[in-house]
Each structure stands twice: as C-alpha cells, then as structure tokens.
Symmetry: C2
Subunit: 374 residues, 2 copies
C-alpha cells in the first residue's frame, strides 16, 4: 500500500493501532447488535434532562466555533472546585489531555513509568512520542505506589501515570497515601493523577484539591465522560499550577472543543443533585453486578468506579471466552483487562436495570455452555 | 509562575500562544457584545434543519463514545466522493488534522514551506513541532505556486502547505494549475492542499478527486465548518492514498470525535439541496459585501470563499483601526490578514442580511470618524 515515503522514523516505526475496539466495530464484525452496552465504562444512566436541554439549545449555535479560551467552562469549574481558572486546562476528554501531557514531557527514548495493565490509551500516547514504557506490576489488584516510586527513582523518569480509582481493576488508595506518593516524587518527575472515576469513589480516597494544587509536577485529570454521562461529548480537564497549566496552551488545538459538548459540561456541572442521584444508581448497579457474579460462583472485586472487575477464577482464555460469548450469543458487550494476572477478570460497567437484566440472564448460560465445552 | 521544570526543550522554547483570539474573548476585553459575528468565516446561515434534528436525536446518545472508526461518516463521504473509505481520515476539524500531519512529517529544524500570511494555525503546529517555516510572498494577492515549488526544491522541504481557495485573501487557482503543481513536487514532499472553502469555489478551481487521490504525497483537507455551517461541531476530513491515510491511525486520538458532531456531519452531507441553497446565499452575501466596500470607496477582492477581503487602500494601521472601531463602536466583529502587504485589507465573512445591515450601517460611520481623526 503506497504511503508517503518521508514520514518521520518514529512514525514509520509505529503500528496503525487502536487502544480499544469500539462496540460499533464489534457489532460490524459479529453481525450482531449490542443489546447491553456495559463494556466501555460509559454511563447508560445518561446525563441529566437539564443537560439534554442545554445541548438542544446549543445546537442552534453550532455554526459558531467554541470559545478557544473555554472561559465559561473554566469559570464554572473554578467555582465548583474553589480554585482559580488559571489552575485549569480544558481538553477533548482525558485521552486528548494525556496525549498533550506526553508530548509536553517525552522525547524519544525517555522512560515513562506506569502500572503493567493500566490505561492502554496512555501507553498508546507514550509509544506515539517514542517514550519507553517502564511498567510495575499491580500488587493485590491495586497499582503499587511503592513500586511506582522505586521505578521512577531507578529510571530518573520524567513522567509517571497513576489512576485513582484504578481502571481496569476498580481499586483505590486512601487520599493520604496518594499525597504522600506525590510528595515523595522528585520535582523532576511529573505525576499524572488520572481521576476519571473520582465522582464514584469514596470521598476519603480523593485528595483534597488544595493538597496538590500548588505542586507544579502534579497534573490531575478529570472528565465528564463517566459519572456525568457525557462520554460522547469529549470534555475533560486537567488541574495543576498556573505555570504547568499554561503549557497546554503552547500545543493544544485551541479551537478543538465542540460547542454543544462544552454547553453540556457546563449544564452537567450545574446539576449536582442529578450527579448525586446517578452516583447512587451506579453504586446500586455495582452491588447488583457483584451479586450476579457471586450467584455464578465468580468473585467480584471491590470497586470505587462505575464498573466492577470480576475474577473468573481461571486464566485469560477463560475470561476471554466469557467476554466473547456474552457478546456473540447474547449481545452483551463487556470488556476485560489486557494483561496477566489482571486478565483472569472480566470488567462490567454499571448500567440501568434493563442492561443488568440481560447480563444476569446471559452470564449463567455462557458459563454453562463453556463448562459443557459447547 | 511555577511550572514543571522538565518540559522538553522544544516546549520550553514555545510561547503560550493562540492562533486567533475568539470573538468571546474580544467581547470580554471590550465589554461589548458582538452584534454581527462576521469575522471567523463561520456560516451565520447555520446548518440545515435536518441537521439540527439529527443533533437533537444524537444528544440522547451522548453518553456513548463515538465509533472510533468513524465508520458511518467515512461510508457517507466515500459514497459522496466516489472513493474508498480507505482514502479518508476523520479529525477534529482541519485544525486537528493539520496538527497530526505536521507531527507525521516534521522533526525539529526541518523546513516547511508555506505562503507568508497564510493560515496561522498551520504555522502554529509547525512551531509546535520545532519545524522551520520557509515563507513565500503572495503574488498579486494569490499564493505563488511557482514560488512555493522553488522554495520546496531549494530547501528539500518535506512539507508544503497550500490553500485553494486561499484564506485570508479569498483568491484561487484553476484546478489544472494545482494538479500541475502537485505533479511537479518531489515525491519526498508532502503537499497539504487545504480545501476548507472548496464548496463555495468555482467548480473549475477544484481538482477532480481522481486527479490526486493516487498520490501518496498529497493530502487534501476539508471541513464541515464553513459552507456546511458546523464550525462548532469539529468535523474535518483528509483525503489521500490508503497508505498515507493509515498514518493518521498511528497518532490520532481514536475516541476524539464527539458523537453529536459526527451525527451532524452525516446529516449535513445528506442534505445537498440545503448546501446548494446556502452556497447561493453566500454568493449573494459576497456580492453585497463587495458592493458595500465599493460604496465606501474601498476595493473588494474577488473571492471563492465565504468571505471577502477588502483592500482599504492604506496601511495595516488603517485596516486595524477599521477592524477595532467596527467592533468597539458597533459590535461588528471582523478580522484582517496578519502580515504585509495583505494587511492593507480587512476580511468580512458572508452572513445573513441582519449582520450585513449592521456592517453596511457601521462601515461609513467608522471611516468618517477615522478620516476626521476622532
């Protein structure tokens, strides 16, 4: 296949890859519609009605570019978090922000520390900038803070990624341990503290904003994609010192935000009572997933996120078979961790009762068929 | 201001900049609302009603990430353009695609050829990847194809940018001259042929798709932001060989597209009769802008775009004063080219009659005041 001959050596060395196969692609591959979309840690509870109304109103203004300064959204977040808008960078979801962060710090060959089996899209961006991944195994299904710190020091790494709560395992650390970890890092190491799932976590696991906001080497990333139910709107934000935050302005796509999505995020932030309600529904759904797992002889792991990792008690082949059969036989879309030993698990996103009903009906049938070798 | 100490040397060397100040920022600076938004080459005619309906329907699914393969949009574009979907890459507007293209090709210090005064956002991305801009002056308010070719050969440049029709001047070349230019380029030079304004151009100025689609060193970029009226939706696309197109998959943010915007683009593409109607309205508005300019003793330039560059007959200071006073005194937001000699002009976007009425009323008042030194 004929391609331009002079892409950079780095680009030529990269595979054409994708961090996750989307459910739409799976539907096309399998020729079967997804009936229960509980695999991508989206929120089937959706956003608030007030958000949908704001989106419909904003649609009429979609002929206008969004404000490149994202002023209104930054003001709303600053007020909500009681910080300065100068502490906030806005991006096209955490994925977009992660790409920018890696680009800000990593030159080819530089070491980047993360947990083995943590967020693949971060690794994708590291590879895309020629970084060298240094991975630390999970310990007891949690990211290993001591191990990450040791790897950072051993490698003199300029960048370390840590998600709290964690994806794909749903585990978490208490806030004081995270602050301790951040304080123990060299000033020459930038910590990406990915808090995509912060809204659904126990409050005592999320460091107070003021505990880290003055550290130039800590960037916390958050999103409207999970509890707020706006994955398709592509709005994420990063929190750090004004000096570090300003660096995003050097490389970001200033007109990259979509106007309807920004309006949705502002409306979502304003409706905290709906968020509270959804968080309760997510918690109830997590409990139901755990109960379903237990009823089928599987071991649900504790979760601070909008999903539950379920230990299926065997190897990755078995877990993969469950994931595949749930989709192929029942249209139930879930995912699973990518590497051992995490990949003994399947990962099921919280969702409305109708989706849970389908999962509850499908799982025993799949397990029965697999046990029977059929 | 305290920033992380170990950003890359390239990042540390970059200013925190913005290619364009948005009208919202101008409103905040001046403390005055924009009454006529005719400065950013958006389309005040907006998208079709069928598009708004599609957006409202898609809002209900915004809890889902968009399909990372952008399958439906690619199929629709492939059918519309009579090419393979493998010839198409989708991105967050042309701005996003330009950033990716620069990253695919440019390492620090490499020369990049463009016209002096052409699209600033392209230059921004070149700077962001450490490229060295080599600029060629406009000739008679058109980008100078012979000059661009000579600069490419002299510098052995891996990348050249050329917009047809051109922004900010609105000028254009006939299709056969562009194909000739593309064919004369070394195979080791990638041409970005930016066709953001292709829909409003004379058909004979746009090369047939098949004339360039087999060239791995040509990428044509197009957008739903201009004639389609969807600037805020952030949907652009790139056309090239399957091999070159595949390179975007190595670095793009696979889940970067917003779901409502993609639905809007698909609906917009399906409503070609509305597009035709809007193109006629844009043409009528261009004529009205030209007439207003002439009535005020200014010289409108011919335009193939959704805006008109108007030669104000003096220097940049004069043009800048017109731009500033139109906004400060009348809330009429327009822009102007950034460098000499183009910046003797102001640039006025086509728009609905109400905006044109405001412009028509404001311009003579501003010119009178400037002539009177008040």
């Amino acid at each position: 296949m004929s391609a331009f001959s002079r892409f950079t050596p780095l680009i030529q060395s990269l595979p054409a890859t994708i961090p996750f196969v989307g459910p739409e692609a799976i539907e096309r591959q399998r020729g079967r519609k997804v009936a229960a979309r509980i695999g991508a840690n989206e929120s089937g509870f959706g956003p608030a009605n007030s958000v949908l109304l704001a989106m419909q109103q904003a649609a009429g203004e979609t002929w206008k570019y969004a404000d490149p300064e994202n002023y209104d959204l930054k003001q709303a977040l600053a007020s909500h978090l009681r910080i300065s808008s100068a502490n906030i960078a806005i991006g096209e979801g955490i994925d977009g922000l992660l790409g920018q962060i890696v680009r800000l710090v990593i030159e080819p060959g530089m070491p980047v520390v993360t947990s083995f089996g943590a967020y693949p899209t971060f690794n994708y961006h590291v590879a895309g900038h020629g970084g060298r991944l240094v991975t630390v195994p999970y310990a007891d299904d949690r990211e290993d803070l001591d191990g990450l710190l040791a790897a950072v020091k051993r490698e003199n790494a300029p960048l370390v990624y840590f998600a709290n709560p964690d994806n794909p395992m749903g585990s978490w650390w208490p806030a004081d341990r995270i602050v301790e970890f951040a304080n123990a890092l060299p000033e020459t190491t930038l910590l990406v503290l990915d808090e995509a799932y912060s809204e659904t976590a126990p409050p005592e696991s999320i460091p107070a904003i003021e505990s880290l906001i003055d550290k130039p080497n800590v960037i916390r990333t958050r999103t409207f994609s999970k509890a707020y139910g706006l994955a398709g709107s592509r709005v994420g934000y990063a929190l750090s010192t004004p000096g570090t935050t300003l660096a995003f302005d050097k490389i970001r796509n200033h007109f990259g935000m979509n106007r309807v999505g920004v309006a949705a995020a502002i409306a979502a932030l304003a409706d905290q009572s709906y968020l509270k309600e959804v968080i309760a529904r997510i918690a109830a759904s997590r409990e139901r997933i755990s109960r379903i797992a237990g009823d089928n002889g599987l071991q649900p792991l504790p979760s601070a996120t909008n999903f539950v990792a379920v230990d299926c008690g065997q190897d990755a082949t078995h877990a993969r078979a469950i994931v595949d059969r749930l989709m192929s036989d029942h249209g139930v879309f879930i995912r699973m961790p990518g590497v051992a030993p995490l990949n003994r698990c399947i990962r099921v996103s919280a969702g409305p009762d109708a989706e849970m009903d389908l999962f509850e009906a499908a799982l025993p049938a799949v397990l029965r068929n697999l046990a029977a070798g059929s």
